[in-house]
C-alpha cells in the first residue's frame, strides 16, 4: 500500500496527527474516489476544527488490509464535492455542510440532514441568517410528475411506538418509484458536547446515543479512550464486554424476527419473540441492573463484575431462552406463507451494497462479508472469533436468515464465555491523560452493524473532535433503494428488515 498518500491506522490504535498527510484537495478527492471504487469503503468523512478553519478527514476501509487509510485536506469554505464520483460521500458531505457551513460544490442533492444551525457562527452552507427559522423537513423533495403519479407522505409521527422520521414516496399506482427519507427530528446535539472540557455525562450520552445500542456505542467510547490513555484492560473484562455486546445482539435480533413475523401476520412467532426479547434483556439486567446494559461498561473494563452465582443464573436463563427461541424461529422459517412474503421482497444486489457502502446485517445479507468482529477485531474478538454469517439473496428473507444465523453464533459465544470466564480484575482505572494531537478510530460491530467513533485530541489531550457514525448512517439509503419497484404496502416489512436507528443517525 502506498502510505505516502495516507496514514495506516488500525482499530483502536492511535495515530499521531502529524502522520496523517494533508493533501491538496485535488489529490484528496482523487484518492478517496479511486480507493472507494477499487472495492474500498468510506468508513467516515468528517470535518474537525483546525486553526480558524476546518480540516477534512477521510477514513477509508480497504477490503484486504484489516486496517484503514486516513487522509486529510483543508477545504476552506467550499470545495469540489466528492459525491458526483463517489455515492458513499453523499450524506457525509451534507453533514459537513450542515455542521461547518462548508459548501461541497456540485453536490447533486445538497440539503440539510438534521436541521440544526451551523456550529460555526457566520458560516452557513445555505446562506441562512442567524434569525432565520430552521424547521425539520422544510426543504425541497425529489418529485416525480405525470399522470397517475402520486406522492405519499408518512411521519414524523408513525402508527406504532417508534421514533419519528419522515418518508416521502413517489408512487405510480401501488408501485414505489422513489423513496426519500428525511430525518433530524431526534437531534439532541450530543456530538458537539463530547468535546472540550470532559462532561460528567459523557458515558451517559453515549449509552443513550441509540438506546437500543447502549453497549455498542458505550463500548466504542471505552475502547477509544483506553487506546488514547493506554489503559490495559483485563482479559476477563474483555470477555464480559463480549457477553454484553452479544446479549444486545441476541435481544435485538430476536425482537426483529418477531416484528418481521408480526408484519406478515404470523402471530405465533411474533408473540413468542416479544416475550423472549424481554427475557434476553433481563439477562443483561441480571448482570448490571439495567435491561439495556446502562452502567455496565466503563473505560478500563466493566463496572459490574460477574459472580459465580450470577454466571450460573445467566447460563441457565440463556439455555432456557435459546431453546424457546429456536422453537419459535423454526416455526417461522418452516411456514411457507411467511417465506413467500419474505422472499424477493426489498432485494438489493451485492453491487449496490458495495456502491452504497452498506454495513452490518444488511450488507451480510447481500453476501458481503463485512463484520468488524471478523475484519478489524478489537477487544475479545482479537482472541475469540465468531464465524461470519452471510446470505446471498439481499432480500427480506436474507436479512431474516442472517439474523437467525447470528443468534446461533452469539448464543454459542456467550455460553462459552460464561462457562470459561477467566480470572482477573474487572476494571483498571485509566491512569494517564489521553495522548495529545492524536486520532483514534474505534470500531465495534453493533447489532445493526459497524459503529465508528473517531476521536481527535488537541495539544492539551482534550477531545477536540468526536465523530460518531452509527451503522444507520450508511444504511438508510439502502432502505430507500430497496423500496424501488416494490409495492408501497411492503414498506413496513422492508423497514423492519433493516430496523435502523433514528436517534443514532440524528445524534
Amino acid at each position: 500500500m502506498n502510505t505516502a498518500c495516507g496514514a495506516q491506522a488500525f482499530n483502536c490504535i492511535p495515530v499521531h496527527l502529524s502522520e496523517i498527510p494533508v493533501l491538496s484537495l485535488a489529490l484528496f478527492r482523487e484518492h478517496v474516489v479511486r480507493r472507494v471504487a477499487e472495492n474500498g469503503r468510506l468508513v467516515s468523512l468528517f470535518g474537525s476544527p483546525c486553526g480558524s478553519g476546518v480540516r477534512l478527514y477521510a477514513v477509508l476501509g480497504t477490503a484486504d488490509s484489516g486496517g484503514f487509510t486516513v487522509l486529510a485536506a483543508d477545504p476552506g469554505d467550499r470545495y469540489p464535492a466528492l459525491t458526483p464520483d463517489c455515492a458513499q460521500a453523499s450524506w457525509f458531505e451534507r453533514e459537513i455542510a450542515e455542521q461547518w457551513g462548508i459548501r461541497p460544490d456540485g453536490h447533486p442533492w445538497l440539503k440539510p440532514l438534521r436541521f440544526h444551525r451551523s456550529w460555526r457562527a457566520g458560516h452557513d452552507a445555505w446562506g441562512r441568517g442567524p434569525g432565520e427559522p430552521i424547521e425539520p423537513s422544510v426543504t425541497e423533495f425529489y418529485r416525480v410528475e405525470g399522470e397517475e403519479v402520486h406522492e405519499v407522505a408518512v411521519g414524523p409521527v408513525h402508527a406504532g411506538i417508534i421514533e419519528p422520521g419522515h418518508f416521502r414516496f413517489q408512487c405510480h399506482g401501488e408501485n414505489v418509484m422513489h423513496l426519500e427519507i428525511s430525518l433530524g427530528y431526534q437531534h439532541r446535539g450530543i456530538e458537539r458536547r463530547l468535546t472540550g472540557e470532559p462532561s460528567p455525562r459523557i458515558m451517559h450520552y453515549l449509552e443513550a446515543l441509540a438506546g437500543d445500542t447502549s453497549i455498542g456505542h458505550g463500548l466504542a467510547y471505552c475502547q477509544g479512550m483506553e487506546a488514547l490513555t493506554r489503559t490495559p484492560v483485563s482479559f476477563r473484562a474483555e470477555e464480559i464486554r463480549g457477553i454484553a455486546l452479544e446479549l444486545e445482539r441476541l435481544a435485538n435480533h430476536a425482537g426483529d424476527l418477531g416484528a418481521l413475523s408480526g408484519d406478515v401476520g404470523y402471530l405465533p412467532t411474533a408473540s413468542f419473540c416479544g416475550r423472549l426479547r424481554g427475557d434476553l434483556l433481563n439477562i443483561t439486567a441480571l448482570a448490571c441492573g439495567n435491561r439495556f446494559g446502562r452502567g455496565w461498561l466503563r473505560p478500563g473494563g466493566v463496572a459490574w463484575d460477574l459472580t459465580p452465582d450470577l454466571l450460573g443464573q445467566m447460563l441457565d436463563r440463556l439455555d432456557r431462552t435459546s431453546r424457546d427461541l429456536n422453537g419459535a424461529l423454526e416455526l417461522l422459517f418452516n411456514s411457507p406463507s411467511v417465506m413467500a412474503r419474505f422472499e424477493e421482497t426489498g432485494a438489493l444486489t451485492p453491487a449496490l451494497c458495495q456502491e452504497l457502502g452498506l454495513v452490518g446485517v444488511a450488507a451480510r445479507a447481500c453476501n458481503v462479508g463485512r463484520d468488524v468482529r471478523f475484519e478489524r477485531p478489537a477487544g475479545i474478538y482479537r482472541f475469540v472469533s465468531i464465524p461470519l454469517t452471510t446470505w446471498p439473496t439481499g432480500d427480506v428473507f436474507a436479512r431474516a436468515q442472517v439474523r437467525r444465523g447470528e443468534i446461533r453464533q452469539s448464543t454459542h459465544f456467550i455460553r462459552q464465555r460464561l462457562e470459561e470466564l477467566s480470572e482477573g480484575s474487572a476494571c483498571t482505572a485509566p491512569a494517564r491523560r489521553p495522548v495529545a494531537d492524536s486520532l483514534v478510530i474505534s470500531l465495534v460491530e453493533g447489532w445493526r452493524g459497524e459503529i465508528c467513533h473517531a476521536i481527535i485530541t488537541g495539544a492539551d489531550g482534550r477531545i477536540a473532535r468526536y465523530k460518531v457514525v452509527d451503522p444507520s448512517f450508511h444504511n438508510w439509503m439502502g432502505l430507500a433503494l430497496a423500496l424501488r419497484g416494490q409495492q408501497i404496502s411492503d414498506f413496513p416489512l422492508c423497514n423492519k428488515s433493516f430496523n435502523l436507528s433514528y436517534c443514532g443517525f440524528d445524534l
Binding site: 437531534h187 437500543d212 424481554g278 439495567n290
Partner: protein
C-alpha cells in the same frame, strides 16, 4: 398448524400475574432511592458531586434527590463514603405532581392517585393512548412497547396504544422533546379529543434528563403541556410504567 400448536404448548402460558404478584427483579436493579440524612456530615457534597445530571443537591445539611432528572446510574450511592444512600428494589415510583418526585428523606412516597372520578366515569373501563417519541433514544419506547407483549398483556386492563390521535384519550410522551419535534408533538396533542391525559415517561420527558440545558431540546413535555402522570427512570422499568398506568385508572391504589 400442528407445529404451531405444539410450540404454543411448549412455550407455555407467560403472562405475568401483575399486579397481584410482582416478578423477581434483578438483584442489581436500582429502584426507589433511600437515604438516611442522619449519617451525612453537614458539609459533605460527595453525592451531588458524583451526579451527572445535578439530580442531587445538598444545602444546609439537607439532601434532596429529584427522581425526575435521575438516571438511576447509582454513581451517587457508589461514591457515598457513609453508605447513607442506597437504591431499593421498589419499582413503583410514578406520581401525579412534579414535586412529588423530589425526595428529601422525610415522609412516605406520594404514589400516584387515580384520575378524578368524573374523568374515570367518562373513560369507562378503557384508556387509549397515543405514544409520541420526541427525542427518545428508543429505550423508553422499547420498554413501553413491551407492555403490549404477552408478558404484560396491557390490553387485559383495558389500556391500549392506538395509532390515531383521534382514537386516543391521551398522550404518552418519551424523550426530552427536541426542538425538531415540538410542532409534531403539539399537533398530535391538539388532534386528541378531551380529556387528553398527558403522561411523561422517563427522565428525558420529565425534565430533559441528561439533555437538559441543550438548546436543541425543550426541558421535557411539562414545558409545553400540563402533565397528569410522571414516570421516572432512564428508562423506567416496564413495571414502573405499568404501575403508573394502573394507578391512573384506579386499578391499583
Amino acid at each position: 398448524m400442528i407445529g404451531a400448536l405444539l410450540a404454543r404448548l411448549s412455550q407455555g402460558y407467560r403472562t405475568l400475574k401483575y399486579p397481584e404478584e410482582t416478578p423477581p427483579l434483578s438483584g442489581r436493579y436500582r429502584g426507589l432511592p433511600q437515604f438516611d440524612g442522619t449519617r451525612c456530615p453537614a458539609d459533605c457534597t460527595v453525592c451531588s458531586g458524583a451526579c451527572p445530571t445535578g439530580a442531587i443537591t445538598r444545602s444546609e445539611g439537607k439532601t434532596r434527590l429529584d427522581l425526575g432528572t435521575c438516571l438511576f446510574c447509582g454513581q451517587c450511592a457508589a461514591a457515598c463514603p457513609e453508605h447513607a444512600l442506597t437504591f431499593s428494589r421498589e419499582h413503583r415510583m410514578a406520581v401525579r405532581q412534579r414535586d412529588g418526585l423530589v425526595l428529601d428523606g422525610a415522609g412516605p412516597f406520594p404514589h400516584a392517585a387515580a384520575l378524578e372520578p368524573g374523568l374515570r366515569r367518562l373513560l369507562g373501563r378503557s384508556l387509549r393512548l397515543r405514544e409520541v417519541s420526541a427525542g427518545g433514544c428508543n429505550a423508553c419506547e422499547a420498554d413501553t412497547n413491551v407492555l403490549s407483549t404477552i408478558s404484560y398483556d396491557l390490553a387485559r386492563f383495558g389500556i391500549q396504544f392506538v395509532a390515531s390521535p383521534r382514537h386516543a384519550d391521551g398522550l404518552l410522551v418519551t424523550g426530552p422533546v427536541t426542538r425538531n419535534m415540538e410542532t409534531a408533538l403539539m399537533k398530535t396533542y391538539e388532534a386528541i379529543p378531551e380529556p387528553n391525559v398527558v403522561i411523561a415517561a422517563g427522565a428525558c420527558a420529565i425534565s430533559g434528563g441528561m439533555f437538559s440545558g441543550h438548546d436543541e431540546v425543550v426541558r421535557g413535555v411539562g414545558e409545553l403541556l400540563p402533565v397528569d402522570l410522571f414516570v421516572p427512570g432512564c428508562p423506567p422499568h416496564p413495571l414502573t410504567i405499568l404501575d403508573g398506568l394502573l394507578r391512573l385508572i384506579g386499578r391499583v391504589r
